[in-house]
Symmetry: D2
Subunit: 348 residues, 4 copies
């Protein structure tokens, strides 16, 4: 079986597991009062080149998103995001729960990316200050998007500038932020706070960690709230050193970018193979900017590929979502490509 | 330094870490769709001798408590617990948040245990069906209590029977339930569902796991709600297999009880030593039924012991909370006892 | 000035005010323990021909909607409604607040009415039982719609039948339900529970009452929850007899339908006049089924009409929303029509 | 029957009803965009001698309290109040709901009044900044108390000063604030913002209004939040002019104080009579500072008085709560006194 369903299905990267084992020495104060959590704080400030950024390790991406957003919006706010965003369709209403009733509103755009003109139009239609209407309070960018596409730096800046005109805050759902940083070749600071981002859900689990994510708050008031919001939602583990150790190792010496580059490279190889199958009806729905592709091909070909051992999610009868991870090997990509080739040529 | 602050400060037990490493093989469906989570389900039913119990691994005790309670109470309910309970004083209002506004109400009793007559009196004073008054809906027993004391089996049954007369559900905060089962020498089933318990917060982290707890629901409707409540509060990790593997290993072949017995034994040894110091003003505030003691002694003695390297929490100027763990060695107990002896004799 | 902004701007109908004055006799038990509230209960059961319907008077339409929905959905549910519905865009997220986090999702259709095929498609795309996705739990029909259009009886039944296939409940936002019943000439029972409706927001304020609305629950479990939900959201007035007296008078001897028929008739007269102005660019965006019209005409004409003393809301530069009420006189309609005629002929 | 159960059982005072009728002229913008609401704003600022106070009319005391508190506390806060306060025991958890999970904590003191030393002790025991513990954020004073007693001005100032040391806000539950102002003979300003109060629940219903209360916010940030919080909880009536007209009339030309003085006087007369019955075992549990008395007497005497037509609440087998209102006549007091005299002399 070749795992292309989700990078969530991958295991824990050896360096991360080693960090856990190293952390398992002696005793340490619970709930973040330990040295490893203090160290992580330093690591985050260094990596993001931000002197006052604060980090909150949590154990799921939904927790990171919903907590970050709940600290950035008033309960009567509206979080604007792309209709394909995880926060609006795949987190069971978590942000509405943890924020005390804030709502999500979709703002469209091609390639699963919010279009600046659509954001502007949405904000111009708002009756600001009228309590009948949920007040747009946060712009949430999924980066990379749930369709595997990427905003470029200047697009992020353009969108955050529009949000800023209306005194909105900006959140980035960075469940795969390492893949974005690696693909864009930019600095983490440039893609986040320097581009106008206030709070980041920094994913690590999909890219090799074991149930460890982090919220990185560049805005102090958001951070102040997170002290309480993380605890009262049950999102401060007692042995926090084990989450902190993972995230610190992940961000140290470029491990996160090496792992992400590996995944991105495998996807580039897979996509190159799929593109040779265009004459058989194989088509990528979006440019695969990182480690994910949505590939359209005839349904019988998808059936055949699945039977031959490729694991993937079926987003529509003729659409497969393919995701590589830090764990996907070059050999697996070669094998998967061969299976797809075989499937489409037989189906054709 | 000798760690007696909290069993939360201990590390991960070798057998649990081994289970994590073993789980780190190949890929697995995320969010609980993996084989290890399915296996945990079987383990829990076997250990608790309950054919339909359902288990939900989470990563903190606050999450376990607040989620279990939110699934057991309507939003207009009141959860009755001892005034010393963690849920009323040390979880930042988590249950009120996750339940949509339910309140906690204290019911007293000596030794940090709810007294049946006080529970009866509280329930008799309720205006049942009157929406002005939060309606008692769940009885939550902390077992063992936050002062290290234990209900006996028949006490649990007596309390649950009173709750049942008013159609209330019963929750057990079992952050240290293994220590209770080990100390009482009863079966897990006898202490829980056979005694009238509907839902259990099954602690594992304090007793050797790494940020892994579980909710065990004996009541099907509670379980049905937990499917949604765990996810939408961000409490289903994507790589859930790593939490499931820990809890399964913990409950297998009696590991949980061996670890707990170790901790209980160390506390018994420490208490025996402290009891020899009665003439110096050392006094246990409660009988240490499990791995925790609240010890009163002159403040200067506590200062001295702290300086000499014993780590403990100061609950009052003359009261130390002492907690042993699976990791506390017999040598450490001997050393701690010697330090305390030295401290009180000098202070005297 | 001729008031066509909203039926909310009208005053209290004389018969309703008389009922208030009559209720102001002697003392009465607070919080609904009075005889007038008991009488209202009987009136509602008689008018709706339902032996166990239960009524909860409240003081705003937002309260009626959000409370009814909160009692009909689990917190992880999604309420499906038309994108133009008041509950999704004009109540400040009230349902998300009072339900503990449920979300609103739009299902489209022409004429501000949900299209059955769109409802079916939306429900077929749901991953039922998957906690990542808010689970559709309630279908909310706005009747009449916020654009002044009406479902026919068989359309209501068709939609509720689709909802029922997925075990969803059905709510009607009947802020102007009297106008609907009057226009359709059906029985209140036929339009509600006989057509599959579980809970109704029965508007009265827009149609002559003074801050009095009612929730009518045909589903017993919804009613059981409302006992608590109304109180704990502050929506049980202490002198409830004054709200109950209004709603009872309103529903007695057909007063509600007489008032609504008056408003509907005035709109029919106004629309007839506007239709004669088609050659000047006057166009109704939807058929005016009740007492509301969305009328398009050149912007300068709207400017002129406003200056000449017609009060209306501007939904777009070239669109006016016109609403008649129980208080609008035939003379006012004649005058308004003349003003519009003058405005468009001058602007033309 | 002589009504002494609650001032909530009284009707609407003639002057208030007249104000409603006067308000029922022509049309007016909904949701507070009317002239009467603007006028009320002016009236409140004049009566409270505060240039920026803002008023929010609502329709129940629970709404006033829960909304005021939700705007004054963060969701992780604790509201400190006397254990007898309405907000902790008689509002169904409304504040926990509307605040997103804040908790109520009791602080004791004799005569149903918080004792400064108990408040100090409670605050000194808090682990400030520790998210495990709900952080005291608001001090709520019930004025007069639910037992009919009153803080003196200097007591209010002492308590608010203590709260201020910890950057807490101060709320007054003034369901009967008119009775307090009338009894103390102070200015409304002296009893509220000049004494350190940030937000007031200004009751009117118990003292002659018809489902009309108001929140008066002296703190601008509290007021800013209330704009949204009132709407999204369904607490802005569409025909708000009818609530505003009541509260404005109530506060104009001292009507509120005349009505309250009437009620207070009747209670003073009743109490004077009851005090002559001390030898028969009649005893007042607290000094009746306003229009309420808790009177202890033999149970058979209470039975007899109830049978003879006095309506009152039985707080215990031998305790009656007696409340006079603006509607209670001097003759009714004489009659009630005679009945009690007869009852105790026979029972004796």
């Amino acid at each position: 079986m070749i795992e292309l369903r989700s990078d969530n299905a991958a295991g824990v990267a050896p360096d991360i597991l080693a960090a856990i084992e190293t952390a398992n020495t002696g005793s340490a104060l619970a709930y973040g009062g330990d040295e490893l959590t203090a160290h992580l704080q330093d690591v985050v400030r260094a990596v993001f080149e931000h002197p006052t950024a604060r980090v909150f390790p949590v154990t799921s991406g939904t927790a990171a998103n919903a907590l970050a957003l709940s600290a950035a919006t008033p309960p009567w706010g509206a979080v604007l995001c792309h209709p394909t965003a995880h926060i609006i369709g795949a987190e069971g209403g978590a942000t509405s729960l943890l924020s005390g009733g804030a709502v999500m509103q979709g703002v469209g755009g091609e390639h699963a990316l919010i279009a600046p003109e659509q954001l502007r139009a949405a904000l111009e239609a708002v009756r600001w200050g009228d309590p009948h209407e949920s007040q747009p309070s946060v712009l949430s960018l999924t980066l990379p998007s749930d369709h595997g596409t990427l905003y470029r730096l200047e697009q992020v800046s353009e969108l955050t500038a529009i949000a800023r005109e209306h005194e909105m805050r900006v959140h980035v759902d960075g469940a795969r932020i390492a893949n974005a940083v690696a693909a864009l070749g930019c600095s983490p600071a440039d893609l986040t706070w320097r581009a106008g981002v206030d709070v980041l859900s920094l994913g690590a689990t999909k890219n090799g960690a074991m149930s460890a994510e982090a919220i990185v708050a560049f805005d102090e008031r958001v951070a102040d709230e997170l002290v309480y919001r993380t605890k009262r939602s049950g999102h401060v583990t007692s042995k926090l050193r084990f989450q902190s150790a993972q995230v610190a190792a992940y961000l140290t010496d470029g491990l996160w970018l090496r792992l992400a580059t590996h995944a991105n490279d495998r996807m580039r190889e897979l996509v190159a193979e799929l593109e040779t199958l265009a004459s058989y009806g194989v088509r990528l729905q979006e440019h695969a900017d990182v480690n994910m592709a949505w590939a359209a091909m005839p349904a019988p070909a998808l059936d055949a590929a699945a039977e031959a051992g490729v694991l993937f999610y079926r987003m529509a009868p003729e659409v497969a979502r393919l995701v590589t991870s830090w764990q996907t090997s070059a050999e697996e990509v070669v094998e998967a490509a061969a299976i797809f080739r075989d499937a489409v040529t037989r189906a054709g």
